[in-house]
């Protein structure tokens, strides 16, 4: 058992080390920027793997909290631009165009660095905690919970587009200042930004690993398996689910902040259905029940997509291929590439340990009847 743990730590450590060492080999600024983007997506995948893979909560609106984090960072960096304004009030340019005369109250606290950085993680977490309490407190689970997360995201997206004078509307928030922290400037096209993202990813990955290995992580897996049963041992299932939902949102928020730094803008598309769908696909491909699998799934898929995006026609075909691949994986490999690799490794003749033969995949346990999710 502990041998397995050691092996897991080694694999995770090695992968992170490789990621951290990339700038040693690559010094093309554009490539580094691109890779940093993929890493951000990897972080998003970790977030979804925690809630979906471990706790069985399929969040079809993971991009909501990603978007909140990204807007927090964008608001902060917008207020840092010199000159921030076209008028006399120190207002962002798009507000002036929309005849706003005074900095709106939601913007005011983002003049503080500490507040902004905390808000980028804590606001999404708080948002998810409230939403989670609303959903799970009412015993809504499964498909219905997934649909709620999707609907909430679309609402958030519509509101951002509609409230143009506060959010920049359709165009999002652009022309940002460069992020600098503790005396380091994080130019989007620099190794320092890459390191920032890679280090955040490493920390996130190990944090998520610790959570998944803790008893809380175990209880979440039990909830995924048989929610009712867990309740009768005295665990507050709704609280556990809300916790992991909020944790996942906090990670997504951090990813959103980093994404704004890397992309140098925030846009309502960050809270879009296509991105949320993509996250689900990455995680499904990589393996929803493996944190590192999900992360590498995201990096792999977006990497290939990035390489193909040179030609427009090819990108269209790629979307088709991704759709097909996704259906096949859902159908044939519910545990994704990580699950397939794990099964392969297990099948290798292993030091005469006869018992391992029994550890084949269990048949997929039927969940409750389709009208699931409703209150019991």
């Amino acid at each position: 058992m502990s041998g397995k743990l050691t092996r897991q730590f080694l694999i995770y450590g090695a992968v992170c080390l490789c990621i951290l060492l990339v700038p040693v080999v690559v010094d093309d600024a554009f490539l580094l920027n691109k890779y940093a983007r993929y890493l951000v997506f990897g972080m998003l995948a970790i977030a979804l793997s925690l809630s979906w893979g471990y706790a069985g909560i399929l969040n079809l609106g993971q991009a909501t909290t990603f978007g909140i984090g990204s807007y927090c960072m964008a608001m902060f960096l917008k207020l840092k631009t010199v000159p921030v304004h076209t008028g006399s009030e120190g207002l962002p340019d798009f507000m002036v165009w929309n005849n706003v005369t005074e900095l709106p109250w939601i913007w005011v606290p983002f003049q503080s660095t500490t507040f902004s950085l905390l808000a980028g993680i804590l606001l999404p977490a708080l948002f998810a905690a409230l939403l989670g309490w609303f959903i799970f407190g009412g015993r809504i689970a499964g498909v219905y919970a997934a649909i709620i997360t999707l609907a909430v995201m679309v609402v958030a997206n519509l509101i951002i587009i509609d409230q143009q004078s506060y959010t920049g509307g359709f165009n999002g928030i652009t022309d940002l200042a460069e992020f600098s922290f503790l005396g380091i400037d994080f130019d989007a096209y620099s190794a320092s930004t890459y390191y920032l993202v890679a280090a955040s990813l490493t920390v996130t990955l190990f944090l998520a690993l610790a959570v998944s290995r803790s008893k809380t992580g175990l209880i979440l897996q039990a909830v995924r398996d048989q929610e009712e049963r867990v309740r009768f041992f005295g665990y507050d299932v709704a609280l556990y689910k809300t916790f992991v939902f909020a944790l996942s949102a906090g990670i997504a928020g951090l990813a959103g902040m980093l994404y704004t730094i890397v992309m140098e803008f925030a846009s309502p598309t960050f809270l879009g259905v296509p991105l949320s769908l993509s996250i689900v696909i990455w995680v499904a491909v990589g393996g929803r029940q493996s944190l590192i699998g999900a992360m590498l799934g995201a990096i792999l898929v977006t990497g290939v997509q990035g390489a193909l995006s040179e030609s427009e026609a090819f990108l269209e075909t790629w979307t088709l291929i991704m759709g097909g691949l996704f259906v096949l994986i859902v159908l044939l490999m519910p545990k994704g590439l990580a699950g397939a690799i794990e099964a392969l490794v297990r099948r290798l003749p292993q030091a005469g340990n006869g018992r391992s033969a029994r550890h084949t995949e269990p048949d997929h346990r039927p969940e409750t009847h389709p009208n699931l999710g409703g209150t019991q």
Binding site: M1, S214, R229, R355
Partner: protein, 254 residues
């Protein structure tokens, strides 16, 4: 029987109806601390539903349920469990995707908080106790087997072990020997006799041989009501009980 021992659980006029169908009807039922009570009755008598009421899976429509002096029927399920009630379900339900050891760790729920459990990792202080429990139910060699791969009898035992890991004052067992071989049933009877005194047990069973092996007092339910209560001999002499079982082939084969 319950006179000189402290009363642990009491149902008073407990009633539940499902869209007009009264499954448990003004039931008065009490159990003393440390007792091993058997609950029998023909199919559909309301035995499982009664256990559901005690653990919170179903809610009474009127009446009350008092456990250790508290009116627990107002609590949410997890709070009821935390007051010291454990339940084994009629359809064995364990966590099939987790290993036997992991299952046992879930059962061990004295500290149910999210925050607390965030800093607990497997191989902690409970391991030894859990291994002993696994030994008690004969699963000591299956600790890292996925629960999905256990046989039916082993699954039943795993669930019993889960309840013992939870260590509740009151244990509700719904047909624990269903699907067990005669040998396994005997072992279960032995186990229950050992639990006597440490825990209070309510055991729902159809197997009269098993009931005779373990019971002190037997309560008989019929059509949602308590029909009779007494020792095994008293029960089998009772004309009302005989009538209730008529047509289902007599009490032994119900």
């Amino acid at each position: 029987m319950t006179g000189n021992r402290e009363q642990l659980l009491a149902l008073r006029q407990a009633t539940v109806s499902f869209q007009g169908f009264v499954a448990v009807d003004r039931l008065d039922f009490s159990v003393a601390a440390g007792e091993l009570r058997c609950l029998i009755g023909p199919n559909g008598a309301g035995k499982s539903t009664t256990l559901d009421l005690i653990c919170g899976k179903s809610r009474i429509t009127s009446g009350e349920i008092i456990f250790r002096g508290e009116p627990i029927h107002t609590y949410r399920e997890f709070r009821m469990a935390r007051t010291g009630i454990g339940r084994k379900f009629q359809v064995p339900s364990v966590f099939r995707e987790l290993t036997v050891m992991e299952n046992l760790e879930i059962g061990c729920s004295r500290e149910p908080g999210v925050w607390h459990n965030l800093f607990r990792f497997s191989g902690g202080a409970d391991t030894e106790r859990l291994e002993r429990l696994a030994l008690l139910v004969g699963l000591q060699d299956e600790l890292s087997t996925q629960a999905a791969h256990l046989s039916h009898g082993q699954t039943q035992w795993l669930e019993i072990a889960l309840i013992l890991a939870q260590d509740p004052a009151l244990i509700l067992m719904d047909e624990p020997t269903a699907g067990m071989t005669a040998h396994e049933t005997n072992m279960t009877a032995e186990l229950f006799n050992r639990l006597r005194g440490q825990h209070t047990l309510i055991v729902v069973e159809h197997d009269m041989g098993f009931v005779r092996d373990i019971a002190e007092t037997i309560s008989v339910m019929h059509q949602g009501r308590l029909l009779a209560q007494g020792t095994a001999d008293e029960i089998s002499e009772d004309p009302g009980v005989r009538e209730a079982y008529l047509g289902s082939g007599g009490i032994g084969h119900a």
